[in-house]
């Protein structure tokens, strides 16, 4: 069964343009110029239940916009989305009970509260009875080794501890699909590794579907068996990690390159470079005006 199904998904933003200097600002007051940015353009793909998918692309490629449409944050302009058979546009609340989200750049936890109080709050959000939430917190704290800082205010935690708590908070309601947007951003290699182990364990033990966007090749290589690369709002590659590597290895062999030179990072960089000639980086979407 497919956990995620996207068909011809599109999203366009209108971004304000302004000429330089004060004269440009004055002109923009009377004659504002708007540029349409097609952030996501007719994207179609599906993800099987229990699969771990890397959804990557250069900055401005449309990754975050896609993830936000899948989670019900943004409304698509065209196309259809179903996550676990639920339409995020029509049934946002119902879907929210089934999915977890971690945005590495956006903190969901209350920083003045301890992880314990935060988990209690998230428990209330997902209608978990008080008696059950205690058991669940104990379970997660043991699994993810949070015991030593469970009662320390979040603002006093290290970045690695905070991200572990963010991921734990997103798992409090046992989601079937987990969306991770740059979960290891800014973390040191040891913490990155422990986060990856945590995600891996969730997938094997709970059969959680993982939809991952990351610029960290290590995340992709160690976690995912399938990769989708987007650029200019379109899918430019959808392949298994194994096939992608063997294909490039084969090609490089023909060019007499050493196998050690063919790393996932070099493959991705090559694809990005080839694509950047066709699709220069798009500005990040701003407020529609």
């Amino acid at each position: 069964m497919n956990a995620i199904e996207a068909r011809d998904l599109s999203k366009t933003f209108r971004v304000k343009q302004k000429e330089k200097g004060m004269a440009g600002s004055l002109k923009a007051v009377f004659r504002p110029k708007l540029q349409e940015i097609r952030a996501v353009d007719q994207i179609s793909f599906s993800v099987e239940e229990g699969e771990m998918l890397a959804f990557i692309g250069p900055n401005g490629a449309g990754k975050s916009t896609t993830i936000k449409m899948l989670t019900g944050i943004l409304f698509p302009d065209e196309g259809q989305v179903e996550v676990l058979g639920i339409d995020p546009v029509k049934n946002r609340r119902k879907l929210a009970y089934e999915i977890g989200t971690v945005f590495g750049q956006k903190e969901q936890l209350w920083t003045h509260l301890t992880p314990y109080d935060n988990f209690r709050f998230f428990g209330a959000i997902y209608d978990i009875p008080n008696s059950d939430i205690e058991t669940r917190i104990r379970e997660l704290a043991d699994t993810f080794d949070l015991g030593s800082f469970l009662n320390t205010p979040v603002r006093n935690l290290s970045l690695g501890q905070r991200i572990r708590c963010e991921i734990t908070a997103s798992l409090i309601h046992k989601p079937r699909v987990l969306f991770l947007d740059e979960p290891t951003i800014g973390l040191d290699p040891v913490v990155k590794e422990s986060i990856r182990e945590l995600i891996m364990r969730m997938n094997t033990e709970l059969h959680t579907t993982v939809f991952l966007t990351s610029h960290d090749v290590g995340d992709i290589e160690k976690l995912c068996r399938r990769i989708i690369i987007v650029n200019g709002g379109r899918i430019v590659l959808d392949d298994s990690m194994e096939h992608l590597k063997s294909h490039y290895l084969h090609r490089k062999h023909k060019e007499n390159a050493q196998p050690s030179e063919v790393t996932l990072e070099s493959i991705i960089t090559e694809i990005y470079k080839a694509q950047s000639l066709q699709h220069p980086e798009a500005p990040e979407p701003g407020m529609e005006v």
């Binding site: 933003f13 975050s64 936000k68 989670t71 019900g72 944050i73 943004l74 409304f75 946002r92 609340r93 119902k94 929210a96 009970y97 999915i99 989200t101 945005f103 750049q105 956006k106 903190e107 969901q108 936890l109 209350w110 920083t111 003045h112 509260l113 109080d117 209690r120 709050f121 209330a124 959000i125 997902y126 209608d127 603002r155 990040e284 979407p285 701003g286 407020m287 529609e288 005006v289």
Partner: protein, 264 residues
Amino acid sequence: MSTVVKNQLRVCLLSVKYNIMRAMVNRVAFLMNILFMILNNASFIIQWLILLGLKPEIGGYTLREIMLFWGLAASSYGLANIFFARAFSLPNLIISGKLDSFLVQPKSVLLSVITSATASSAIGDFLYGLAIICAFCFSVQRLLLFLLFAVTGAVIITAFAVLMGSLSFWFVKAEVFGSNMVNSTINFSTYPDGIFDGAARFLLYQVIPVGMAIYRPVHVMISFDLTELLMVLGYAVLLSAAAAFLFYRGLRRYSSSNLMEARI
């Protein structure tokens, strides 16, 4: 009460509780905020005492009645900012794309957003209003009416703030217009309606909701009238429904952002 409503209420109250806990992290600042808000409000009594010393009635109201306007305005505004403070900064959340974390939760986005902050000084506003009513015009019936109207006033002011704030989904520049409209509601609410006539009176009763949030309730507290009470209740419900409708229509245009942010 249905389970959905009960669970939503539980989250809202927990959110307000955590907001107050956050404000109490700095104990001295928390208490000073409350105390100075009470003192700040109290300073206006002197202004009215001087004015009413020159003329016993202003706009048809004596000191006791004018204090009712002040007390109700302070408590309504106070309650709105204790429970729904984020409604007053809605445009900023919309324009900066800070609604994401609320949109991935299985609860009402609007209620989760507006209850996600508390202004600690608003506790001073609420207490000040209560003290005024007890000091100047106490009766059990009036106190009960006062508490009811403080709630309807808070709901009306919040709904108006949401209505104005939601315009930011369509126009970025609506932020300034909306905040001026909300501020004018608060400013006008501390003056008795008898001093306004013509276009100003029309504006206060028909455009900005100060008439329904403060003026009519004060009339009911001075001389009880069931019809006027029901009108205020009905208006609070209607305005809330209109605010929710506009907010959710606007939410379809929400475009998020990739700015780094923390929930502080």
